[in-house]
């Protein structure tokens, strides 16, 4: 019995990590855009959907998941750049409420546009043949190989982002943009191009997340919105504008959410009937990340790693 619990725990820890790394891909773009440009972008979930749809259709056409995945990332980045040039650019100097309204409108446009192009039935997308199957964990449990690959991709992206921001000229400008927007403009940096680039990069990461997860879930209209809500929780917990905060926040939310779903019903079973425990447990599990957010904000109102002091 003890062994079963230990393997179950290990497996759920991996599940939490996998959810966390996917949330990180979403949250890092969101937090960069907010930190550098001061923009609240609700349409970030639409880039996630664009990535998944492009990957699904290109994979179906070419038969290669890798080609599809690349197409998904490129499509999300291109759509992101286009949206920045056409719409977002006009919003930087507007109040946050205007930004929320405009980007919410973008969600509706993207959703209906996707439905118009692809229909309302979900698309089919599966992991590539070589990544199906499972590996055996210490303790004997089997774990899907594809989920391990997702974790690895997430970790690689995190390292890549860290190097980009701390070691390159672009990263230096991003950091400068975070601390003083007007000053880097005055120093002769082409702000407009920097903003488009950051926005497209965030969109590409969202597209990557959508494409990777799309192979596990269903590729359908509106798939980005539930993830977007969690990604907002992540950046609030981590501290808005902080990549490091996004990473810690994402993993924290991923692990807490997963563990809550699995172990809370069992916990409530100690003092109520199994059917009640299942109901109450899953209801509390659904609230858990928000409770976590409230607790963290009570002690650290700016999040764990606030970017602006």
């Amino acid at each position: 019995m003890h062994d079963v619990t230990a393997t179950l725990f290990l497996e759920q820890l991996l599940n939490g990590l996998q959810l966390g790394t996917m949330l990180f891909l979403m949250a890092s773009g969101l937090t960069l855009v907010f930190g550098v440009m001061g923009l609240i972008n609700l349409a970030h979930g639409s880039f996630y959907m664009v990535g998944a749809y492009a990957t699904a259709s290109v994979t179906a056409a070419t038969g290669s998941f890798l080609v599809g995945l690349s197409a998904g990332i490129v499509a999300a980045a291109a759509v992101g750049a286009l949206v920045e040039l056409l719409v977002i650019r006009r919003l930087y100097h507007r109040p946050h409420l205007d930004q929320v309204l405009a980007t919410f409108a973008l969600i509706l446009i993207f959703s209906e546009g996707t439905r118009w192009l692809f229909g309302s039935s979900p698309l089919w997308l599966s992991p590539p043949e070589m990544l199906t199957g499972f590996v055996t964990l210490p303790g004997g449990a089997r774990y899907p190989l594809y989920r391990l690959v997702i974790i690895a991709v997430g970790v690689l992206v995190a390292i890549g982002l860290y190097l980009l921001i701390s070691r390159t000229r672009l990263g230096m400008r991003i950091r400068a943009g975070e601390s003083d927007r007007e000053m880097i403009g005055a120093l002769g940096v082409n702000i407009a191009r920097l903003y488009t680039l950051i926005f497209a990069m965030g969109a590409a990461l969202a597209g990557l997340a959508g494409a990777m997860v799309g192979a596990l879930q269903s590729v359908q209209v509106g798939m980005g919105e539930p993830v977007l809500i969690l990604a907002f929780v992540v950046i609030v917990i981590g501290g808005i504008g902080s990549i490091k905060g996004a990473l810690f926040g994402a993993i924290l939310v991923g692990v807490v959410d997963t563990m809550g779903r699995v172990f809370l019903p069992g916990f409530f079973r100690h003092f109520m009937s199994p059917a009640e425990a299942a109901g109450v447990g899953s209801a509390v599990a659904a609230m858990l990340v928000y409770i976590l957010m409230a607790l963290i904000l009570a002690f650290k109102p700016k999040g764990l790693f606030a970017a602006h002091g």
Binding site: P122, T132, Q217, P226, R261, A285
Partner: protein, 380 residues
């Protein structure tokens, strides 16, 4: 598709130009055509309009509106239909929570409501009404039938899983009602959940011999795809809601070998059904789902009653509906005292079709003449 849309538009325009004839019939359809799960509403609509078109009657006007899966919108659409358009009959609602927002008020005001899908327990029991007819099923029926089937097949330790919302808890209650044995565990997931890794690990850690689940729409697609690569090999069972043609095509090979219960199957052998499936495929270029069959049956029920009486003669029209004098694509069909079907429920297996895509194949009867348990509470 286009012809039907323009047909509807044409009907709408002619009625605006010429004052409607007194004996014309107006039907208001409120259904889900956008947002999550819109393929259910699209199929109900397409099945319904196919039957209206085949009837060749030009005195029936069908007004169609999209409720976007929102109860408040459905409610205001129904008010509009009743007060502005003076419809005789309402139909179309997919989701039980929307039905609860619309149906009780509509039937109290003297409008007929013919349900092509949602069958919440309240409307079958204490809140039943003489002007409310359900052509599809009471929500529990298909789950109950699967409980009976798995009991008979000798599964002894099923584990159950459903989203934590009314239809989810009803599904598990319905299953247990006929299964009557011990279940290993009940897992409640979140509504709209997309990742099931945690639940799959729990299923693996249990000593269950089978899994019964109810995850309609995109939830079922996500779950089955993740289940396939998890290395867990328990057989999967559920009601047809998680296994309609559109869902299993999106799931792909992971769906093959699963079993589900349905009151209808496209390969069910009767004349009405063969004609329906052929004409549906010709008109829309896809295989109909159970939702399309329910839309088709709903329209044919209404048409059969219209042959005998006009809805303005409420008593005569109601009596005509009660007789259910139409060729259902399910074969035999009759109403119980609470105006819900008493019908056979079948078992289908998902197999690989001719084009390599998964498809449902009829296996046999799960339960004969099932009637919902709420009928006894109905005082009409």
């Amino acid at each position: 598709m286009k012809t039907i849309a323009s047909l509807g538009l044409g009907l709408l325009m002619t009625s605006a130009l010429t004052a409607a004839q007194a004996d014309d019939v107006k039907i208001g359809m409120i259904t889900t055509l956008s947002g999550g799960g819109s393929h259910l509403g699209v199929d109900v609509r397409d099945g319904f309009m196919l039957a209206i078109e085949q009837s060749g009657r030009d005195d029936i006007e069908v007004l169609i509106q999209d409720d976007a899966n929102r109860p408040d919108l459905a409610r205001s659409l129904s008010d509009e239909f009743m007060q502005r358009d003076n419809v005789d009959i309402l139909t179309g609602i997919i989701w039980s929570n929307l039905a609860m927002a619309v149906v009780p008020a509509a039937v109290r005001q003297g409008t007929f409501y013919i349900s092509p899908n949602a069958g919440p327990s309240a409307l079958a029991g204490r809140q039943c009404h003489e002007n409310y007819f359900n052509v599809a099923w009471q929500n529990d029926n298909l789950h109950e039938a699967m409980g009976a089937y798995m009991k008979e097949e000798g599964f002894e330790r099923p584990i159950l899983m459903a989203p934590n919302y009314p239809a989810g808890t009803d599904a598990l209650a319905g299953f247990k009602h006929r299964y009557e044995g011990e279940v290993v565990d009940e897992i409640y997931t979140q509504m709209g959940q997309t990742d099931y890794a945690a639940e799959i690990a729990q299923i693996r850690a249990s000593d269950a011999d089978s899994l019964f689940f109810f995850l309609p729409g995109g939830m079922g697609i996500s779950f089955m795809k993740q289940y396939e690569n998890s290395g867990v090999e328990l057989p999967l069972f559920g009601a047809a809601f998680s296994f309609d043609e559109i869902i299993i095509q999106a799931v792909g090979s992971a769906a093959i070998g699963t079993m589900n219960t349905s009151q209808w199957a496209y390969d069910l052998d009767n004349d009405a059904n063969r004609a329906f499936v052929d004409s549906f495929r010709e008109a829309y270029d896809r295989t109909p789902t159970l939702y399309a069959s329910q839309g088709f049956d709903s329209a044919n029920l209404i048409l059969s009653a219209l042959e005998k009486a006009h809805p303005s003669d409420q008593d005569a029209f109601r009596e005509a509906l009660r007789e259910a004098d139409f060729a259902s694509v399910r074969g035999k069909f009759r109403f119980g005292d609470n105006h819900h079907p008493i019908q056979d429920v079948y078992v289908r297996e998902v197999v690989e079709g001719e084009n390599g895509q998964p498809t449902n194949r009829l296996v046999g009867l799960a339960i004969e003449d099932i009637q919902d348990v709420y009928a006894v509470d109905c005082q009409m």
